[in-house]
Amino acid sequence: MKLLYLYLRSRQADRAAVYLALIALFAWAWQYTEGGSMPRVGSLLVVPALGAAVVIGGGTLSPFGELETTMSRPLAPTRLMHMLGLLAVAGLGLAAANGWTDWAITRNVAGLTGLTLLTARVVGGTLAWTVPICFSIMALETSPIPAWNWPMHGAVDARAATIAAALLLIGLSAIVAGGAPDRFGEPG
């Protein structure tokens, strides 16, 4: 338990939770200004979910760099709990902000988080946010119909949900196994 506590402190999980709460508040305010009865489409589906995903990705940075790999205990379960915890805070926060009525935002949080974690594994935690941001801009700017543009699809779209779930699983397994490498020698 102490290891988990120290791990979460080293990853500034408390700050991440504050950022996630801010994003949920912002999503609620956005929806409030757009009108509660409006169908949730376009930017409102993608942007708050993206904000949550990139904050979660920021948590993958290790303050100890390569040193952490010499630990005697495996960090995989701790990493998994950290990521799932943040994901739960983000998902529940945005679902609550959205009035518990539309799960598309929660699906997008999961999928975009998966993409962020996958990026973190490949290019390091420093730039984990780049691919999801670029992808989300593409999703917002281009046609919402193709399957690759799953964040813009409605909550009932099973294919979009499958893609998001697959991305999350791949991202989680990639990051849990080895963590995010420190490519720039600048611990977070």
Binding site: Q12, G58, T126, W129, V131, I137, S143, P144, I145, E186
Partner: protein
């Protein structure tokens, strides 16, 4: 800030990693925006180049935020406080290094797009101001990100700042752009506002100067804040004053120069009424077919195929009173206007560029033409006519049952096929889909007549049909 310092700051910069990624995503995004279509128009390409800032901006803001926190993260603040040069010179070098990578990404992506346009576009030339605004926006994004990153050193700051930059783009460029006239003018403060882009009028409204001024103003203001933070007070005062003046000037210039909103420009273009702006001069490219067809020279590659399709569609109407005697591509208003069949080369009435390569067999081309042939004159108000719904990915045009039946028959006799498409409201026929089964059956009955019988019927009923005064029961 020496060249050597700048070289080190550029070489040891996260932007180096980011640059190829940004270029790849810019090209992918532009591809999705319209490069997968077959025609290349200079106004669109010029806007695409400027629009790459949509991706480059947030990315470079986040990168700058990360670079700004580097000294603090590595615990070098105390050590660097002993250097003889002012801290601002060091910070400015790091900011410049980040800007260099951002500009490199912008220039590479832009050069690729311009190269494609140079190779394929057949008419006109580049519009420089959207590209120049994009170029000035990159340092502005980096400056905002750098100041924010220096003020909040936090592992979550870079992604959060990138996210906020994206949010700013959406709030300013998209939300305000579609708002009522007052706030719509402020949307032009974004480097990527909604614009009216066409070969007919170019890129409108031309707000390049105020946009450029605002970008420079933001950059100078942020550098002023940074200089003040680092204790270079004299320089900070000058930068803050200069940046403030530029920012105020740009807002004032926007209020004076910018039109009410881009939506008004677009609706003016698609209406059949008088034009409030001059069309960019051009010599039409025409086909000497039985029904002459003229098009904008930028679309010359479509002329032969389109003229053939239009002639096949209108062949049964030749010699019928009220039928078009020639066809011409229009900036936005479609329909039969004073005997001229005006058609738009797009799947939406407001844009020019989005067109499939196999245009002649695509219903987004011949569907609206068939609708125009059975609907009322666009200029004659107060009459029943086919209605269009171009809402969010719905794109339907429906008519009265008799009009739909003849429209379906016209399409079929031309050897073309109407198909269902996937829309946000589900599968459906985008043209004549009001009650497809009934209209289609009536079209089949009409097709069973001899050509002479059809001609006689059209001579007697075509005008009433187009005015929406013919019930379905009047069809044979």
């Amino acid at each position: 800030m020496s060249i050597r310092l700048l070289r080190i700051a550029t070489r040891r910069n996260v932007g180096l990693w980011l640059c190829p990624l940004i270029v790849a995503f810019c090209l992918l995004a532009v591809y999705g925006l319209g490069l997968d279509w077959s025609i290349y128009l200079w106004p669109e390409m010029s806007e695409f180049v400027g629009k790459t800032v949509l991706i480059i901006g947030p990315c470079i803001a986040g990168t700058a935020a990360w670079m700004a926190g580097r000294e603090s993260r590595c615990g070098l603040e105390d050590l660097l406080a002993t250097t003889p040069r002012p801290a601002f010179a060091r910070q400015a070098a790091t900011w410049s290094g980040t800007v260099i990578w951002g500009l490199s990404a912008y220039i590479v992506a832009g050069a690729i797009l311009i190269g494609i346009a140079l190779r394929h576009a057949v008419w006109g030339g580049p519009t420089w101001w959207p590209m120049a605004v994009g170029l000035l926006a990159v340092p502005a994004y980096a400056a905002v990100g750098y100041v924010a990153g220096a003020s909040f050193v936090d592992r979550f700051a870079p992604p959060f700042i990138a996210f906020l930059a994206l949010l700013g783009e959406i709030a300013l460029g998209v939300m305000l752009g579609g708002a009522s006239p007052g706030p719509a003018q402020l949307s032009y403060l974004s480097p990527t506002p909604l614009l009216d882009v066409s070969v007919w009028y170019g890129v409108r409204p031309n707000v390049g100067l105020p946009q450029g001024l605002s970008m420079i103003g933001i950059t100078v203001l942020c550098l002023g804040v940074l200089a003040r933070r680092e204790g270079t007070r004299g320089l900070a005062r000058g930068l803050l004053a200069g940046g403030g003046c530029l920012a105020v000037a740009s807002v004032l210039a926007l209020i004076v120069v910018a039109p009410a909103g881009v939506m008004d420009l677009r609706s003016a273009r698609t209406s059949a009424g008088p034009r409030d702006a001059a069309i960019v001069p051009y010599t039409p490219a025409c086909a000497g077919t039985p029904l002459p067809v003229c098009m904008h020279p930028a679309y010359r590659m479509y002329l032969r195929g389109d003229a053939a399709v239009i002639n096949r569609l209108t062949a049964p109407l030749r010699g019928i009173p009220g039928a078009p005697t020639r066809a011409a591509q229009s900036p936005g208003a479609a329909g039969v206007i004073d005997g001229v069949l005006a058609f738009v080369l797009s799947d939406l009435p407001t844009d020019d560029a989005a067109m499939p390569a196999d245009l002649t067999t695509d219903q987004s081309f011949f569907g609206p033409i068939a609708v125009s042939l059975v609907g009322a004159d666009a200029a004659a108000d107060g009459l029943d006519r086919c209605s269009s719904d171009y809402g969010f990915a719905t794109g339907t045009q429906t008519c009265l049952p008799a009009q739909e039946a003849i429209g379906i028959w016209l399409v079929r006799q031309a050897g073309l096929r109407l198909t269902t498409t996937e829309r946000s409201v589900g599968q459906g026929y985008p043209y004549f889909g009001n009650d497809w089964a009934i209209a289609s059956a009536a079209a089949r009955r009409f097709a069973a007549l001899t050509p002479a019988q059809r001609h006689v019927w059209l001579l007697a009923h075509y005008r009433a049909l187009r005015l929406g005064r013919l019930p379905l029961s009047a069809l044979p």
